[in-house]
Amino acid sequence: MELHDLSIQEAVEGLKEKKFSCRELLESCLNRIKKLDKDLNAFITVDEENALLQADKCDREISASKNIFEEKPLLGIPVGLKDLYSTKDLKTTAGSKIIDNYTSPYDATSTARLKNAGAIVIGKTNEDAWGHGSSGENSDVGPTKNPYDLTRVPGGSSSGSGAAVAAGECLFSTGTDTGSSVRLPAAFCNLVGLKPTYGRVSRYGVIAMASSFDTIGHMTKTVYDNAKVLEVTAGKDPYDATTVLVEVPKYTKNLGKDIKGLKVGIPKEYYVEGIDNKIKEITDQAIKTIKSLGAQVHEVSLPHTEYAMACYYILCPSEVSSNLARFDGVRYGHNRATFGAEAKRRMMLGTYTLSSGYYDAYYKKAAKVRNLIKQDFENVLKEVDVMIAPSSPSLPFKIGEKTDDPLQMYLSDVFMCPINIAGVPSLNIPCGFSDGLPVGMQVIGPQFSEELLYQVAFAYERETEFYKVKPKI
């Protein structure tokens, strides 16, 4: 196996036992980028020189102390950061033309925590500009391709992050999930992708899309890896008033726990017309596997699901229009005419729904509906421990297939955005393939239940091992 195919867990073991060096590990990933990225377009910026310096530094630290991994659990592990994450002295572009040359004077809290844990930032990954999209096709610097099929999308908006890990260009990547944007690329690229509880991980330094929806998540090859990264990024941040003072457990500690007696709810509103037959088949099979592991599965209802998309697409653009106001070209960036079509669309929608005379009918009403949707989740999650649902109604679609109709593109989020509205956590886990294309399902739990989600996913992963199926590039 090539070094870039290793999981974080395997890489750390190998580094500890001096089977290879950090430099060798990093070079393996850099070579992948050199070989593949002109076709994949997963990276906007690659920080080769600095990353190599970091790798050498990591090697020196390992030589000096073998216990260094207790202090720095991700030492030497190459990571791709979604280009919404501020990185000091390395361009942050948000996938847009407006700040295509912006260098932040500070690191996002998440960036800093990963760096302090020893991770090496190999570069910034491509995305739908500003996070606006579900496929990566709204990037101002060209779409990213799906490593499993280069004619198809990798999912968005954290498109580059998904493709990069799947293709071995880095060992894990970060993203943001506001309406689906970590879980969907994870589903399309055969990865474990976490949308954490709102307030679990600091948003400070990550360019805001919709402030009350944005969550700071990440994608990995395996469940263990994912839990390991959350141990580093989670926790209260004095720079983010919406982070919560809730203890951060050792998420990797109880992974092997069995799920006998676990109560799993399947929301009936998620099994509707329009969902791809293969996806339905594969998800049903996955649920059978979960049952065979001892879980009790039955149907539940989230009655306000049908209003979720409308609610989301009123509240989200409202906040987007506000968060993009600071890009006025005075202190950084180009003038506002440089915004792409989707950004303009959302700003027009958002300013309309907030304008006087319309605020009550749109924003305020949607805020009330939001509460109802949140209550649906709270009520159901009192009856069951977790819910399981498909991540996407369709298989990874062809590039260009949905770009003519923005509404069609929005519907990709139909199973995802209710979770963002409710603020609860959800974990995408690979659950099969259809004609070589990855299918994912999400495990959804109550607020701050990430530990339980990981246990469920780990038990399922151990049975199925879909992460072993690599793309053929």
């Binding site: 501020s86 805001a208 008033a241 919406t242 506000s322 600071r326 890009f327």
Partner: protein, 435 residues
């Protein structure tokens, strides 16, 4: 001919003297500092930056509200107020819209009561400087905590406006939350002025906002000018435009700043980055406990407790430090001097309030003790002064009382204070008669 009655409301902004800014840890002490040296990602509105509220500032805005008799809202929140301007880095100002920290207060000045609509919290903007054809932006002031006080349109004349503002300034200084200095920009005011026909009720259909007023004297002048300007227009049958006007100090007039005033749609919505607030009765009570005795109450107490003239009591209480000093001196001097005498010494600046209290007391006792003039020395001094001031003598004989007081002063100087004015006056009058 006064068919019209002024309807005036005030909007006052007070910058809080907190150590750090409202939503970040930069120093809030920006006055006179090198531009753009007190900045960070938050107050620069850099991508990804988030606001974290300053607890001291919130305690203080509630304290101000309580000092102005307001009700403290048990639930409150921040809202985003959107507009584009180069000194507003985020493209929105974090302010308060429909759930401000304080509402429904009132202030009594003399016989009149003026309503306070609300007292809320917001952040200040950067500062623009125009230089030739360029405009420079300094973000040191961006994010400094700013309290906005809005009064009911209860004012009917410029004099009341001035008195209210003076009382407000003293009150805020008493709380120790701001130096409320108009020259430094830590207190700013905008009156809204309109007129309605005598006997009519309800608010006039227009109101004129006046900006760029830099002292209390100028407020009075600006308000008076506006009342006159609007009266003339109304008498001609014209309705004054709803607009913002700027006060021109040099010419003493107001000038239209905007030709067409449309109500700006700020697209307010609740600030999602800052969780809303819920205050308990206990928390509100704890802040209230920090209220000092307010200047109006102290003034009244000085009159009744110390039996000094109301005008003197008012002057002593304009500065809390002076008022406290006065009370310390009063308690130490006992019956060696009356409070009115001490008040006089302070107000007439005969002795400095910077002296240690004991020293003040000793010097005061010396001054206040009646001097027994040496009769012989006094006779010599009086004769000398009379001899040297024949004109003054004549003026006095012709009825000018002031000339006598002048002569008394001259004798007192000659005697180097070793005489009391009453005796000197008596002796002078006697001697002048002999001349």
């Amino acid at each position: 001919m006064n068919k019209y009655k002024p309807v005036i409301g005030l909007e006052i902004h007070v910058e809080l003297a907190t150590k750090s800014k409202m939503f970040c840890q930069c120093s809030a002490d920006y006055f006179g500092k090198k531009p753009n040296t007190h900045t960070c990602p938050v107050c620069l509105g850099l991508p990804g930056a988030l606001p974290v509220p300053n607890k001291q500032a919130i305690d203080w805005v509630i304290l101000i509200g309580q000092a102005l008799g307001c009700k403290v809202n048990k639930t409150s929140k921040f809202d985003r107020k959107h507009y584009f301007y180069p000194d507003l880095p985020k493209g929105y100002q974090i302010s308060q819209y429909d759930e401000p920290f304080n509402i429904d207060g009132s202030v009594v000045i003399g016989e009149k009561t003026f309503g306070i609509t609300r007292v809320h919290m917001e952040e200040d903007t950067g500062k623009l400087t125009h230089l030739g054809g360029d405009t420079l932006v300094d973000f040191n002031r961006s994010g400094v905590p700013l309290v906005e006080i809005v009064t009911e349109p209860d004012f009917e004349n410029a004099e009341d406006v001035k008195r209210f503002l003076e009382e407000l300034q003293v009150t805020i200084r008493y709380l120790g939350v701001s130096d409320a200095d108009m020259e430094k920009g830590s207190m700013r005011l905008e009156p809204n002025i309109s007129l309605r026909k005598e006997g009519e009720s309800g608010l006039p259909k227009y109101k004129v906002e006046v900006k760029n007023i830099n002292s209390f004297n100028f407020v009075k002048k600006a308000v008076e000018y506006e009342i006159e300007r609007q009266t003339e227009m109304l008498e001609r049958g014209e309705v004054p435009a709803q607009e913002t006007r700027g006060y021109n100090e040099a010419k003493g007039i107001t000038v239209s700043q905007r030709t067409k005033e449309e109500a700006h749609d700020y697209r307010y919505f609740p600030e999602p980055d800052i969780p809303p607030f819920q205050f308990t009765d206990e928390e509100i009570g704890n802040i209230e406990k920090q209220l000092p005795e307010l200047p109006s109450v102290k003034t009244e107490r000085f009159v009744t407790q110390y039996k000094i003239k109301p005008a003197d009591a008012l002057q002593l209480t304009r500065d809390k430090k002076v008022a406290d000093y006065f009370e310390k001196v009063s308690s130490q001097i006992g019956d060696r001097g009356s409070q009115q005498q001490i008040a006089n010494l302070i107000i007439n600046k005969k002795l400095s309030t910077l002296l240690p209290v004991e020293e003040f007391v000793n010097k005061a006792v010396e001054i206040l003790t009646p001097k027994i003039a040496d009769a012989g020395a006094l006779k010599v001094a009086v004769e000398k002064i009379i001899g040297a001031n024949t004109k003054a003598i004549e003026d006095y004989k012709n009825g000018k009382e002031n000339s006598l007081m002048f002569l008394v002063g001259q004798v007192m100087r000659e005697m180097k204070g070793q005489a009391d004015a009453v005796t000197v006056k008596e002796v002078l009058i006697k001697k002048i008669k002999e001349v």
